[in-house]
Assembly symmetry: C2
Homo-oligomer: 326 residues x 2
């Protein structure tokens, strides 16, 4: 291992170890395709369906890896996190699987469907004001009271390695799935950067010729700005329907993204909603706004995908079906 | 082959031949499971996701088998059918694939989403009044004018054999999928009986210990009544949200169902809607009312599934997402 490689907070071996650890506890999600969408967008698209993952989002991967890797002594105190939703449900599920308590700090305005998911796994929800500082103060109080071990939603090497396993499954499918003999590009949503960072390092270690595109809502474009400037920029006042992507980029995540991501593009709210609707009507899967941003890039930046073979990571499907944006 | 076996309009060899013929042109749909639903219903459930099939329903199987099996001379004249929707789209797709014309007779009140699907494959829609006799008269006129070959939606051995391929995929998965070492029961929607008849004969030929349950809306219960009386009963004035299951049972289909199905149960409209909603919220897949009746049986006849390993066939997902029943 060279000095340069040692600088990365997570490496391919961590992702491979994570996959071996979590594989019995997560779904190996399908790659689905549609001839109609291929024709419409002039590409060959495979959708990696993480909305069909346990808890309805890729977050099951990272949280499972973190919780399953704890020593018994640490695990005994339980785990805690702050989360607008999917990571909270994922941590609650992983903790329930291991038989340990979990506390999830959630903003008061978190979607009902995401609260219900956390509760369904028996975790304790601790409410806070919808600001990052309120989240952190409340989490500190939980730790002080219960001595729980914190699993950050994205800025944590174990979580990043877990999310990276999604890339292993796509890469391994290349020689198995008809037509998917190789890929030109993989599009991945970016919020805090756990999924994009973990997947990008995995893709570049295994198949460096594949272009890695991060996709972010234009209304929450801190990753786009940070990537362009080469310096971590804060997320200020995010305005997007994609509630899972309002977080600011993590420090470790940004380091991986700088090193392994080829480009980051932003998408409009209209494209996110149209992409979401196309997934529902054409792919027959329930996709949340955050989960649809990668496909929104195919709509809004079509020149990057036309004539190419692309894997599009659909990251989650936890949406209130009684409050749809159309 | 015994005399008794020769009486069946379709046999296992036909289904196996159909699978070899259509496999390159259809999706091998996934079997998805949910621990939350397993816990809630006290069963181990695997959902066979035919809403993720091409054209969003299992009908792609039977129509592809029929169209791909035509001689070039017959195929040259094109194909025609009457259909409330999914079979029409399936025939249109199969015809487009083979490069031949297709005419689809549809009732004026067919769902917009199902009309659009037929049109998207380049088939010609011929409208008629929403009665069986109007459908048949209109279809006769289409045949007289164009000389097209008719592919009936369900009472056709080639279609039945094609639908039976869905059972082959479930049975072949038993030794591959974790936990699915064997099945106790398979629940299958019944409308015209193409899917139920084709799957039941396949299951009983390959794994006769598996119980086969047909599921029908209580408001369109001709199969339930026919099965109970041992004589084909007409479908009169069906009243159900499950628009794909309003057809009367076919003659060939009834013969297969009598011989190979263990029981038929009916489900209420409330159970269908609740089952549909649970699929959307828990499985993150878009399911149409007809596609959810098999799962509705798990809700409403839970004693038949409790403590057992069950495959639940979700037959389709073509629903207008702007007009949901909740």
């Amino acid at each position: 291992m060279t000095a340069e490689q040692r600088e990365d907070p997570v490496c391919l071996a961590d992702v491979e170890a994570a996959h071996a650890r979590i594989a019995p506890y997560i779904h190996h999600t399908p790659l689905l395709s549609s001839e109609l969408l291929n024709k419409r967008f002039g590409s060959r698209l495979w959708f990696k369906c993480e909305q069909l993952q346990k808890i309805g989002a890729f977050k099951a991967r990272g949280a499972s890896n973190a919780v399953l890797g704890l020593t018994d002594a640490v695990a005994a105190g339980g785990v805690a996190t702050h989360s607008s939703g999917n990571h909270g449900a994922a941590l609650a599920m992983a903790a329930a699987r291991r038989g340990i308590p979990a506390w999830v700090v959630m903003p008061e305005n978190a979607p009902v469907v995401k609260r219900a998911a956390v509760e369904s796994y028996g975790a304790t929800i601790v409410e806070c004001a919808p600001t990052l500082s309120a989240r952190e103060t409340t989490l500190d109080a939980v730790i002080a009271e219960h001595g729980a071990h914190v699993v950050h939603p994205y800025d944590d090497p174990r979580v990043i390695a877990g999310q990276g396993t999604c890339a292993l499954e796509i890469l391994d499918a290349r020689n198995v799935l008809e037509g998917l003999d190789d890929l030109d590009v993989i599009a991945i949503p970016v919020g805090g950067g756990g999924l994009l960072g973990g997947m990008a390092l995995t893709i570049k270690a295994r198949a460096p010729h594949i272009e890695v595109i991060g996709v972010e809502p234009a209304g929450a474009d801190d990753a786009f700005r940070s990537f362009g400037l080469g310096e971590l920029q804060p997320q200020t006042n995010p305005q997007t329907i994609a509630d899972g992507l309002r977080s600011g980029l993590g420090v470790r995540n940004f380091a991986l993204i700088q090193r392994f991501v080829d480009t980051i593009v932003t998408v409009s709210e209209a494209a996110i909603i149209e992409a979401m609707r196309l997934q529902w009507t054409r792919m027959k899967t329930v996709v949340e706004p955050s989960g649809a941003v990668s496909f929104a890039a195919v709509l809004e930046h079509n020149e990057r995908f036309r004539g190419r073979r692309a894997a599009i990571v659909i990251s989650g499907g936890n949406v209130d079906i009684d409050r749809l944006p159309w």
